[in-house]
C-alpha cells in the first residue's frame, strides 16, 4: 500500500530540519549514502589510477607519486588536481585496478560496470542500494536520484527520479517560478501559465486520482498502477524540497552542481543514492591529450565533492564510486591526431564510506588484467580474474545489501570492502 501524503510531507519536513544538523549529530544508526560518478566514454587509466611506462604503454607526461596506504598514482603538470585529490583523500581512498569488463563496446560495458550483469535492463548498484534503503525508509521521496542522466533503474524505476540535463525538473516542481523567470526576461513564448494549482487544489486532485488508481489497482495485472499510486505522494514531497525548487534551470549541470544537489537531497532525507556524470567526453579515439584536461576537471570536482561531504558530515557514511565503462588501449592508434581505442580492462576509485584505503587488483606492464585473490585483492596466479560482476557484488555487500538477488552467481570482491 503506498504511503499517504501526510506521512510523506511529515517526513520531508523532518528531512528539511536535518539541513541544520551539526556534523557531530550523525549517530551510528544514521543512514548510508552512495554516489556514482561516471566518466562516460572510457577513461585512460594510465593518466592517474594505474601508472604505466613506455615501451609497453604510451603514457602522458608525469611521475609516479606514492600516498598513504600504498597508493601509487600517476600525476602530471597538466592535471594538478589528481595530486590534490590524493593528498587530501588517500587515507580514505581505494583504487581497484585490473577490473575485467569483457567488452569493448560502450553500451554493454557501461551496463556491466554499473549493474554487475550483462543485461542492458538490469538495475545498477545505485538503484539496488536505493531500493533497499526505501524498504527501510518508506518515506524517501526519491531514493535514487539521477543527476547525470545515465542511471539504470530497470525494474526498480519507481525508486528513481531523473532531474534532467538542464535541471528541467524544476519547471515541473515550481511552475510559477519558471513562469516568472520567463516573463522577467521577456523570453520564451507561450508564457501565460495555464493552470498552477495551489496546495489545496493539488491535494484535491491527488485524492481524486488516488481513489481512481486504488480502484484500478484491484484488477489483475495492475502492479504498475500501484506504483503510480505510490508516486503521487512522492511527487508532492519533491515539490516541497527547497533544494530542488531552488535550482537554476536551462544550463547543463556541472559535476560540482550535481554534487551539491546530491548532498542536499541526502541531508533533506529525500534520496540515499545519486548518479552523477562528469559531463566530459572521455572517448578519445582522436587526440589523447584531451584525457589530461578531463582528468584535471574530474579530480577537481572530486576534491570539491569530498570537501562538501566533509562539511556536511556525510563523508563517513557516503561511499563514492568513480567509474568508467572501460579504459583505453596501452598504445596510441594511427589517427592523424593519435588517440587510443577501447580496452576491456579498467580501474575504479572508491572513496569514503568506510572503504579500506589502498590499491587492489593488478595489471601487467601492458595493462593486462592479472589474477587476484577476491578476499584481499592481492595478485595471485592461482586466483581469479576480477570481473565486473565480482566488483559490483562486492560494492553492494559493502553498502549493506545482499548481492544475491540481482548479481546471482558472482562471488563478491572484498578487497577494499572488507
Amino acid at each position: 500500500m503506498p504511503l499517504d501524503r501526510r506521512r510523506f510531507l511529515q517526513s520531508a519536513a523532518a528531512g528539511l530540519a536535518g539541513l541544520a544538523w551539526p556534523r557531530e549529530a550523525l549517530a551510528a544508526g544514521d543512514p548510508r549514502h552512495f554516489i556514482v560518478v561516471f566518466a562516460q566514454g572510457g577513461w585512460d587509466v594510465t593518466f592517474a589510477l594505474d601508472p604505466k611506462s613506455k615501451p609497453a604503454c604510451d603514457v602522458p607526461e608525469g611521475k609516479r607519486a606514492r600516498y598513504p596506504g600504498g597508493l601509487e598514482i600517476f600525476t602530471g603538470p597538466g592535471r594538478p588536481s589528481v595530486a590534490r585529490f590524493f593528498e587530501a583523500n588517500a587515507r580514505r581512498a581505494a583504487v581497484v585496478n585490473g577490473l575485467w569488463v569483457g567488452s569493448v563496446a560502450h553500451a554493454p560495458s557501461r551496463a556491466r560496470v554499473l549493474t554487475g550483469t550483462r543485461s542492458l535492463r538490469a538495475p545498477d548498484v545505485g538503484a539496488i542500494f536505493a531500493a533497499a534503503a526505501a524498504e527501510r525508509e518508506p518515506t524517501l521521496a526519491m531514493p535514487y536520484v539521477d543527476l547525470g542522466g545515465g542511471a539504470r533503474s530497470g525494474p526498480l524505476a519507481r525508486h528513481m527520479g531523473r532531474v534532467g540535463a538542464t535541471n528541467q525538473l524544476v519547471a515541473l516542481l515550481d511552475r510559477a517560478k519558471a513562469q516568472r523567470k520567463g516573463k522577467g526576461k521577456g523570453k520564451g513564448k507561450g508564457g501565460d501559465l495555464g493552470f498552477d494549482p495551489d496546495a489545496a487544489e493539488r491535494q484535491a486532485i491527488e485524492a481524486f486520482v488516488e481513489r481512481r488508481a486504488a480502484l484500478l489497482a484491484r484488477e489483475p495485472g495492475s502492479a504498475t498502477v500501484d506504483e503510480y499510486r505510490g508516486s503521487l505522494a512522492r511527487a508532492e514531497a519533491l515539490r516541497q524540497s527547497p533544494d530542488l525548487r531552488g535550482l537554476e534551470i536551462g544550463r547543463t549541470t556541472s559535476l560540482a552542481q550535481q554534487s551539491a544537489l546530491a548532498i542536499a537531497l541526502f541531508q533533506a532525507g529525500i534520496a540515499r543514492a545519486a548518479y552523477l556524470d562528469t559531463r566530459l567526453d572521455w572517448d578519445t579515439h582522436d587526440d589523447i591529450a584531451d584525457q589530461d584536461a578531463s582528468h584535471e576537471q574530474l579530480f577537481a570536482g572530486l576534491v570539491a565533492l569530498m570537501a562538501a561531504l566533509d562539511a556536511a558530515g556525510l563523508a563517513e557514511r557516503t561511499t563514492v564510486a568513480v567509474l568508467s565503462e572501460f579504459s583505453r588501449t596501452p598504445k596510441l592508434n594511427s589517427q592523424p591526431q593519435p588517440g587510443k581505442d577501447h580496452w576491456p580492462v579498467t580501474s575504479a576509485l572508491i572513496v569514503g564510506g568506510g572503504v579500506r584505503a589502498g590499491r587492489y587488483g593488478a595489471t601487467d606492464d601492458a595493462l593486462g588484467a592479472l589474477r587476484i585473490r577476491l578476499d584481499d585483492g592481492r595478485a595471485d596466479d592461482r586466483g581469479h580474474l576480477l570481473q565486473y560482476d565480482n566488483f559490483a557484488a562486492g560494492l553492494l555487500e559493502h553498502l549493506g545489501v545482499s548481492s544475491r538477488r540481482w548479481i546471482t552467481t558472482a562471488e563478491p570482491f572484498h578487497g577494499p570492502f572488507a
Binding site: G150, P155, I205, R234, D281
Partner: protein, 594 residues
C-alpha cells in the same frame, strides 16, 4: 546559457491528422455491419484463453486506439463494438490506414535504431548550405528522421518489410538532399509521400539497400578509431536479425595490443577466441568500408564565417559525399576479410540487404520487435511458440507488417490484463509512453506541449519528444545515448511530468471552450455560467466519456466524486473549477495506463 528559464507551452492548432478532429457528436451514425478488409492471422496464445483475464471488448478497443491512433476511439466505433464485438476487426483495419500508424512505426523503430538524439556529435551543423536552416531545427531534425521515414513508407504502403533493407530508393527532405546529395526520383503511382519528402537516390554512389545506404544511420552509429565498421555491423545484426554480438565477451588476452592494427588483424584470424565472433562480424562489416566517418565537429570547423567550406572535396563540405567507392575495398588492408553474410558470399550493400531479407532471423526479429513494442516486453522474453506464430503471420502476409500488427492487437495476448504465473509479467496493464501520451492529450484537448525558447536555434521544442529541455526520458522514454530502454514504471518525477502536462492541457482546453460560442465548443460544452445540477452532471459524464472512454452514471459515485472536486470553486471561478476537474481526469490511471 540558453535563453529559456521555464517551461512554457505553445497552444497549437489541432493536429492535421484525423485524430485531431473535433469530437464527433455521440449521436453519429454507428458503423453498419463493418467489414474487415485484411486477413486476420491467429497467433499462438501466450496462455489458454480461459487462463487469461481479458479486457471487455470496449476496453480492448480503447487500448488498440491508444497504440495505433494515439487517441480515444470515436464514439461510433465504441458503439459498434458495444453492439457487436466482432466489429473491432474492421475498426483496426481502418486504424492501420490512418496517418498515425506511420508515426507509431517510426516511434517503434526509433527505440531500435536510436536516431532521435540531441547530442551535437550526432547531428549535422547548420553551416554552409544548411545555414539557412539554423533557425529551423525542425527542418534539421528531418536528417535524422530519414531512415525512420523510409521504414514508415514501406509499412504504410503495405510493402514487404524487407524493402527496409533492399529498397533502391530512399526518402529525403530538401535539407537531407542538401546535406548528403541526392537525386530526386519520380513519386510512385498511388504512393503518399509525407509533405516535404521526396523519393531519392543518394549521389555518393553507395549501392542502394534501404536504410543500410543511409548516411544518417551511420552518422548516428559511427565507426571510430580502429573499429573498422564492426560497430555498424553490430547495429545491423542486432536491429534486423536480433542476433547481435555484444552479449558475448571479448576473450581474455594480455598479449594483444588492440591499438596495433597488424597485431589485431593477425589475432582475429588465429586466436580461436577472437575468430569465433570475427569470422562473421568482420565480413559483415566489410560491406561498410565505403562509408566515410562524418564528424559534425570537423564540418563546423571547416566552414568560415561566410559559410565557405575550406576543404572542398573532403567529407566536411556539403553535400557530404559520405560514401567513397574507392574505399569500399579497403577491408582488404584492414581486416583482410571479404564481404560475406554469415558464411554466404556477398558483394556489396545491395546483396547484403537481399541476404538479410532472406534470412529467417529477419522475419522472426521484425515480428518480435512489433510484438514486443505493443506488449511492452523485451523481444527476447517472448515465448518461442508465440514468436514462431508471429513469424508465420508475417511470412503469411508476405512480410506486410500491417497484417502482423492486426494479428497482434487483436490477439488475446494483447487484450489480456492478467494471466497465470509468469504470464502475468508478459500481459497486464500497459504504461502509456511519452509519445503516446502526447498524442492522446492532443486528441482529447487539442493541446500540444511545446516550448519556443527565445534563442531561435532551438525552434519549437516538443517537450515530450526531447531531453535537453524537454521531459522525454523523465517520462520514461528513450533518450538514445544514455537511456536506451523505455521505462514502464511510474517514478515521482514521471508523475510530475504527467501532472504538469495535465494542468497545462486542461487550462488550454477550458479557456478555449469557455470563450467559444455554444456549438463551437469541443470538449467542455457547458456554458460557463451554468450551475444546475443536471447540466453539470451531464458535462461530467461527457468528460468521462471523452477523456477516459468510460461511461458513468450521472447520479453514481464517480459523478459524485467529480462534483465534489468541482463544487468548491464552481460559483467563484467556473473556469478554474472545470480546469481542476479536467486536470485530474488527464492524470487519471486510464490516461497513464492502457
Amino acid at each position: 546559457m540558453i535563453g529559456v528559464f521555464g517551461c512554457a507551452r505553445e497552444p497549437a492548432p489541432h493536429r492535421p491528422s484525423a485524430d485531431a478532429e473535433p469530437t464527433p457528436p455521440v449521436e453519429s451514425p454507428a458503423i453498419e455491419r463493418p467489414t474487415a478488409t485484411r486477413p486476420l492471422a491467429r497467433l499462438a496464445p501466450i496462455a489458454p484463453a480461459k487462463a487469461l483475464v481479458l479486457l471487455s471488448p470496449e476496453d480492448h478497443l480503447v487500448r488498440i486506439a491508444l497504440v495505433l491512433r494515439g487517441a480515444r476511439p470515436r464514439p461510433e466505433e465504441l458503439e459498434a463494438v458495444r453492439r457487436d464485438p466482432a466489429a473491432i476487426e474492421a475498426i483496426v483495419d481502418r486504424y492501420l490506414d490512418e496517418p498515425t500508424f506511420g508515426e507509431v512505426v517510426r516511434d517503434l523503430w526509433n527505440e531500435v535504431l536510436l536516431l532521435r538524439v540531441e547530442a551535437p556529435r550526432y547531428n549535422l551543423p547548420a553551416v554552409g548550405p544548411l545555414a539557412e536552416y539554423a533557425e529551423s531545427p525542425e527542418a534539421l531534425r528531418t536528417i535524422a528522421e530519414e531512415p525512420l521515414r523510409l521504414i514508415e513508407y514501406v509499412a504504410v504502403h503495405d510493402r514487404p518489410f524487407s524493402e527496409v533493407v533492399t529498397a533502391d530508393y530512399s526518402l529525403a527532405t530538401e535539407v537531407g538532399i542538401a546535406a548528403w546529395g541526392a537525386t530526386t526520383l519520380p513519386a510512385e503511382a498511388g504512393a503518399r509521400l509525407p509533405e516535404g519528402w521526396q523519393r531519392v537516390r543518394w549521389d555518393s554512389e553507395q549501392p542502394m539497400a534501404g536504410i543500410l545506404s543511409s548516411g544518417a544511420l551511420w552518422l548516428r552509429h559511427p565507426s571510430n578509431g580502429a573499429n573498422n565498421h564492426r560497430g555498424q555491423a553490430e547495429v545491423i545484426a542486432e536491429s534486423f536479425l536480433c542476433s547481435g554480438f555484444l552479449d558475448r565477451d571479448v576473450p581474455l588476452f594480455n598479449n594483444i595490443d588492440l591499438s596495433d592494427e597488424e597485431v589485431v588483424k593477425s589475432a582475429l584470424t588465429r586466436e580461436p577466441g577472437c575468430v569465433s565472433c570475427h569470422q562473421t562480424l568482420d565480413p559483415l562489416a566489410s560491406h561498410l568500408f565505403g562509408f566515410v566517418r562524418v564528424a559534425p565537429g570537423a564540418i563546423r570547423k571547416a566552414h568560415d564565417r561566410d559559410g565557405e567550406c575550406s576543404k572542398p572535396g573532403r567529407p566536411v563540405c556539403y553535400p557530404l559525399a559520405e560514401y567513397d567507392p574507392k574505399r569500399a575495398g579497403s577491408y582488404r588492408k584492414k581486416t583482410g576479410r571479404a564481404p560475406n553474410f554469415f558464411g554466404l558470399p556477398s558483394r556489396d550493400l545491395t546483396t547484403l540487404g537481399a541476404q538479410i531479407a532472406d534470412d529467417p532471423r529477419f522475419s522472426m526479429c521484425v515480428a518480435r520487435r512489433f510484438y514486443g513494442y505493443f506488449m511492452q516486453v523485451e523481444p527476447e522474453a517472448i515465448p518461442d511458440a508465440t514468436a514462431a506464430s508471429l513469424q508465420d503471420a508475417l511470412l503469411g502476409a508476405d512480410l506486410r507488417v500491417k497484417d502482423l500488427v492486426k494479428a497482434i492487437v487483436l490477439a488475446d495476448d494483447f487484450r489480456a490484463i492478467g494471466g497465470p504465473g509468469p504470464i502475468e509479467a508478459l500481459v497486464g496493464r500497459k504504461t502509456t509512453r511519452p509519445e503516446q501520451l502526447s498524442r492522446l492529450v492532443a486528441d482529447i484537448t487539442g493541446f500540444t506541449w511545446t516550448l519556443t525558447p527565445a534563442n531561435k536555434k532551438f525552434g519549437v521544442i516538443d517537450l515530450l519528444a526531447t531531453d535537453r529541455l524537454g521531459y522525454r526520458a523523465i517520462a520514461g522514454g528513450v533518450e538514445g545515448t544514455q537511456v536506451n530502454e523505455p521505462s514502464y514504471a511510474y517514478s515521482p518525477t514521471r508523475s510530475l511530468v504527467l501532472q504538469a502536462l495535465a494542468a497545462e492541457a486542461a487550462a488550454f482546453a477550458v479557456k478555449r471552450d469557455l470563450a467559444a460560442p455554444a456549438g463551437r465548443r469541443e470538449l467542455l460544452t457547458i456554458d460557463g455560467a451554468a450551475r444546475g445540477d443536471d447540466e453539470v452532471r451531464a458535462q461530467i459524464v461527457a468528460l468521462y466519456q471523452r477523456v477516459l472512454a468510460e461511461s458513468i452514471d450521472p447520479r453514481g459515485a464517480e459523478a459524485d466524486a467529480a462534483l465534489a472536486l468541482l463544487r468548491p470553486a464552481l460559483d467563484r471561478d467556473p473556469g478554474r473549477a472545470w480546469t481542476l476537474l479536467l486536470a485530474a481526469l488527464l492524470q487519471d490511471p486510464r490516461i497513464a495506463f492502457h
